[in-house]
């Protein structure tokens, strides 16, 4: 199938529920840890190299044909914050709905049947990429790009930043995105032989802590 499918999967307008999630930036802004374009860039870069690498690895492994149920367990083990697990599964359900309509495949149907409450989102994304004929590296790019662009887009709304600055900072992250996607795809390749422990498990203590804090807020704009 066409490489153009990657553009569709990575498009922020792909209707899979991502627009209502801030990728932790709403909490970071509330703590005044992020307040301008520079601090936003540092946030996105740190997130990309931690949870971004981990999700990209899961997506790439799913696209490479690693058993999605084992990947789902691996994703749980890499997501110690229950609020973030719930978000990942909710987004997985929503991605599944969009993916089944867009790139129907037996793999997606099987996973939907095995995980009716939703699999972790990057695994669904990876299977959708596989269904679209994309490579594990493509899937890693889609996951990594979404990891960085989500908080950048949310920050534009929350901080009234100049959207051109946000686009510029994402462009500045290009080499980071290349590095993360490449590392994720390599690890996915290893995982096909060695199992899921070969996948990245890069994590951030603050994203876990603030993710749980955010879930306890009674007033918030974003679901996570």
């Amino acid at each position: 199938m066409s490489r153009a499918a990657l553009l569709l999967l990575a498009d922020g307008r792909f209707p899979a529920g991502g627009h209502a999630h801030s990728g932790g930036i709403e909490a970071a802004i509330a703590h005044q840890a992020v307040h301008d374009t520079d601090s936003l860039q540092t946030f996105c870069r740190g997130r990309l190299h931690t949870t971004g690498l981990t999700t990209a690895g899961l997506a790439a492994a799913a696209a490479a044909g690693v058993n999605p149920l084992l990947l789902d367990d691996a994703a749980d083990a890499r997501t110690p914050a229950p609020a973030l697990r719930a978000v990942a599964r909710r987004l997985g359900r929503q991605m599944m709905r969009a993916a089944r309509a867009t790139f129907p495949s037996k793999d997606l149907e099987r996973l939907a049947a095995a995980r009716p409450q939703g699999a972790h989102q990057p695994i669904v994304l990876g299977l959708a990429a596989r269904a679209a004929g994309l490579t594990p590296l493509d899937a890693a790019y889609a996951a990594a790009y979404e990891n960085a662009s989500g908080p950048a887009t949310a920050a534009v709304r929350l901080l009234s930043l100049d959207p051109l600055d946000a686009s510029s900072l994402l462009a500045h992250l290009s080499t980071d995105l290349d590095a993360v996607a490449t590392a994720a795809a390599r690890a996915a390749d290893r995982a096909t032989a060695e199992g899921v422990d070969a996948l990245p498990s890069a994590s951030s203590p603050l994203l876990d802590i603030t993710g749980e804090q955010h879930a306890a807020w009674t007033v918030r704009l974003f679901a996570s």
């Binding site: 703590h31 601090s39 946030f43 997130r47 083990a77 110690p80 914050a81 890069a202 203590p205």
Partner: protein, 251 residues
């Protein structure tokens, strides 16, 4: 905190029979505490992991054994004669109905050090574990070295927790708002207990504080609670983890 004993020689190692088995002979922890031959420098003269060192600790609590391992003082990662990373690998195995408390003192990542640490835990399905990890990034008024640390826990052969952290230059964004945001002490406390009630809501510790905070929450893959804490200092970090432990034990 300046002196550091060799991490392969915990200062206190206790074996005792679990209460449930006291009426009959307790199989010895097999092996209770095995040390692998060290490669490289003589650890008796050098008590700290230096660049290029490769250290391994292997601890097994055999079926029905109870084991507690602590160290008396912090482990200090220092700059070595080479820029190659030192490695420090801890492998913990806990058998059926066995219990391990792994409570070492903090690991300090000193300036210009370069350490890759792994802690790999294999738990039987009825095993109990209390594990604390604390990392201090730099001594007083010192930039930290480069510390990459992975904690990988399997329970009954399935992944329970898998987390890798990477702090210090050249890690991208490590001190920024997504990862540490200036905090210099970071730690985790993991409690695995098959007898624990698992319908627990997350507990937020000091959520509005700028001087450190933590969350205690259940893991997905088993009867396990994990506390994750960040703090500006080691003492605040310990307070948070102690507080988390109190909650975890339901006290």
């Amino acid at each position: 905190m300046r002196h550091s004993p060799h991490p392969r020689q915990p200062q206190r190692t206790r074996h005792h029979a679990p209460a449930a088995t006291q009426r009959r002979p307790v199989p010895p922890p097999t092996p209770a505490h095995r040390q692998k031959p060290r490669q490289g420098r003589d650890h008796r003269r050098d008590e700290r992991p230096l660049g290029g060192d490769r250290l391994t600790i292997d601890v097994t609590a055999g079926d029905r054994a109870a084991l507690e391992v602590t160290t008396a003082a912090a482990t200090l990662a220092l700059r070595g004669p080479t820029t190659a990373p030192a490695t420090y690998d801890v492998r913990l195995t806990v058998g059926e109905h066995a219990s391990l408390r792994w409570l070492p003192q903090p690991l300090i990542s000193a300036a210009d050090s370069n350490l890759r640490q792994t802690c790999t835990v294999e738990l039987a399905s009825t095993a109990r574990l209390l594990l604390r990890e604390e990392q201090l990034l730099g001594r007083a008024n010192e930039d930290p070295g480069h510390l990459v640390s992975r904690l990988l826990v399997h329970r009954a052969g399935r992944p329970l927790l898998d987390q890798q952290t990477a702090y210090g230059d050249p890690e991208p964004g490590w001190d920024g708002p997504a990862i540490l945001h200036g905090h210099r002490a970071v730690g985790q406390l993991l409690l695995v207990d098959p007898q624990m009630s698992m319908r627990r809501s997350p507990i937020l510790l000091r959520p509005r504080s700028r001087e450190g905070c933590a969350v205690l929450a259940p893991l997905a893959g088993g009867p396990a609670l994990l506390a994750t804490a960040v703090a500006p200092t080691s003492s605040t970090l310990r307070e948070l983890l102690d507080e988390a432990l109190t909650h975890a034990l339901g006290q």
